[in-house]
Amino acid sequence: MDHAAAHHVAEQTSHLLRWIPLLPLLGAVVNFLVGVRIQRAFGRFGVAALASAMPILSFFLVVASFFQLRALPPEGRVLFDNVMPWLHIGSFNADIAFQFDPLTAVMTLVVTGIGSLIHIYSYGYMDHEPSAWRFFALLNLFMFAMLTLVMGDNFLLMFLGWEGVGLCSWGLIGFWYSEIANAQAGNKAFIVNRIGDFGFILGFALLFWSLDAAGHATVTFRGVAEHAHSLTDMTVWGWPVVTVITLFLFVGAAGKSAQIPLYIWLPDAMAGPTPVSALIHAATMVTAGVYMIARLNFLYDMAPATQTVVATVGACTALFAATIGLAQNDIKKVLAYSTVSQLGYMFIGVGVGAYTAGVFHLVTHAFFKACLFLGSGSVIHAMHHEQDMRNMGGLRRYMPVTFWTFLIATVAIAGIPPLAGFFSKDEILWKAFQKDPTLWALGYAGAAMTAFYMFRLVFMTFFGECRADHHTVEHLHESSRWMTMPLVVLAIGSVTVGFLGVPPALGGSNLFEQWLAPVMAGHQLAHDADAEHGHHDLTLEYGLMAASIGIALAGIGLAWLMYHRKALRPEIFAQAAGGWAYKAVYNKYWVDEAFYAVFLGGTLGLARAFAWFDQTVIDGVVNGSAVVTRLASRINGAFDFRIIDGLVNLTADIIHGFGGFVRRFQTGSINAYLYVVVMVVTAVLFAQAW
């Protein structure tokens, strides 16, 4: 759609917008400063209520803004709220200003909606936590940061949210910091994210200065959208500038959204409490990268080379992570790798230019992944923090609500219609196929594995006999209402959200795509073009859909055979290829170990070398200069003492010697004196005579 037109239409302001992120910030500040006292006075309910009220209020504000947005014509569907000027130096101008367009609306609905549910869930989950105030404060702070990220109207404000979610992620992963592994996981997350941020900063700098060189210095998204075309012919280092910018920004996205090779922090992040994994590492923070690319769709459309990279990385990640998920025994690790894999799909989506499809999958994934994580949390909570699936089993009898919601979410993720995951995943696969069948193939294989390992999880956890010890089994019961209620809501979402994006091929009008159309510049054209070709490829589309459903069912079937009927023993696969395939997958391809050895070890080694150099060589020079100076001064002193002073003393010695010589004449003997007198007189007389 024409952004220029949107820009020239009078900008609609809504001063409600600022409260959407500010309310959670307020909650965070209060809980940080006086949370301890609130907890003492009102128990954990006090802090939880305060903390949950904030995102709930924000959610209502979001809904209100959403309706306000709907009332506007599609070309002018943006609301703005400029809070205060932030940084204005030279041609660089960034304000603390929020915008609310269809894409932001979608993101904020997800963030506040699912966020609120998770806040409520946390009250039930963290029932034995003495530092609940800190937990809820961090959760609220996270909401603030995430909302700033998606609502910021310029790169700098988005980056504030970007790093802010990193900070909260660090704090929440390492929440139980007395266990050093948790703290280390938190650090890992932050540092790996920083690698991504490094790319982000460079991309942003290049973008700003390129626009400045073209005469349109701006950092707001609408400004960049309006003037992006002026970058088409610029190059840097021999490459088109837009390609380099988008590549750098993609590095940032890969860090935040856990794509190869920067995904390694996400599985470790499971060390944090499960609500954190649900909120941050499934529904919201990790989607920031996808959001950014969707937000900058016009830029990525100008850089087909980067798009190929994005899609390829996404596809490889999708498959790679899925293979690792096959062999994990920790329930959360399976879900973690599943998240990485699903994120890969989203990147395939935005990488082939199907931005709406990517965002759609983001939304559906948020629902069913959050449901899965919260469900696993329910299981873990009931099993007294047991996370190994080998010690679970048969839980459906004890935890029916958890079981049913979990099952619904699993069916959704496996991509079985009419649940949400099918529509979103399939749209991506369809668009991927149109771009490059290889991408489709990788995604297809991943989908198969997804169905398999998710149902493996379900069968190991909820079916069969409970393998836990007697004491745990006795205490197994369904979780409290605070935990099950959000599960139900999310499960309903996993079923219904898909209907927002029913493709035309199946009779729907893809409301989702229509809603996001104003944001996706130039995609109206692609959509129209697609509609033209649509008729021809309908068979292909149906065929692919059928293939997806088929392979998903096959995966489910295999899992059922192996883990429920126990007809096929997993060991067969484990021993395949001499056991190496299994070992590789089980050990996550030793990527972490390689990373530690190369990067951590390398950097530490470099650091020690530099420190040694500083201490021994540089300081050595300084101390050496002191030694040299002392030596010089000693030489100087010796010179002064021996030579200069020596001359003085020599003079005295000579005179002394001379005197010693002369004094011999003073014999004291009178006779001698007289002799001398006589001699001299005689001599003088003789001399005179001559």
Partner: protein
């Protein structure tokens, strides 16, 4: 041949030499002083001789009276010094008066 100037001068010379010899070689301080007296008197003889045979005038003789007076004074002082030295070191051997040795 009468007694001329030369004869007087010769006497004076002999006296002078004898006196010089005494001064240079005597160990006794009094002896040295005696030598000094001889030298002085030799000079006196010289003066008188020249006064008698030389240029007109009585300058020589006047000079002699001065010299005799000086000799007396000097002998008195010298003998006083010798007396003082004797009191100090109980000997008037010139060889032993080496206090001014440098």
């Amino acid at each position: 041949m009468g007694v001329g100037l030369v004869h007087y001068l010769a006497v004076g010379l002999v006296l002078f030499c004898l006196g010089l010899f005494c001064v240079l070689t005597r160990r006794n301080a009094i002896g040295v002083l005696m030598g000094v007296e001889l030298i002085l008197n030799a000079a006196n003889v010289n003066f008188i001789a020249f006064s008698r045979f030389g240029v007109a005038g009585y300058d020589g003789q006047v000079f002699s009276i001065f010299v005799i007076m000086l000799a007396a004074a000097e002998a008195a002082i010298a003998l006083a010094i010798v007396l003082g030295i004797y009191r100090r070191q109980r000997s008037i051997d010139v060889e032993s008066m080496r206090l001014l040795q440098g």
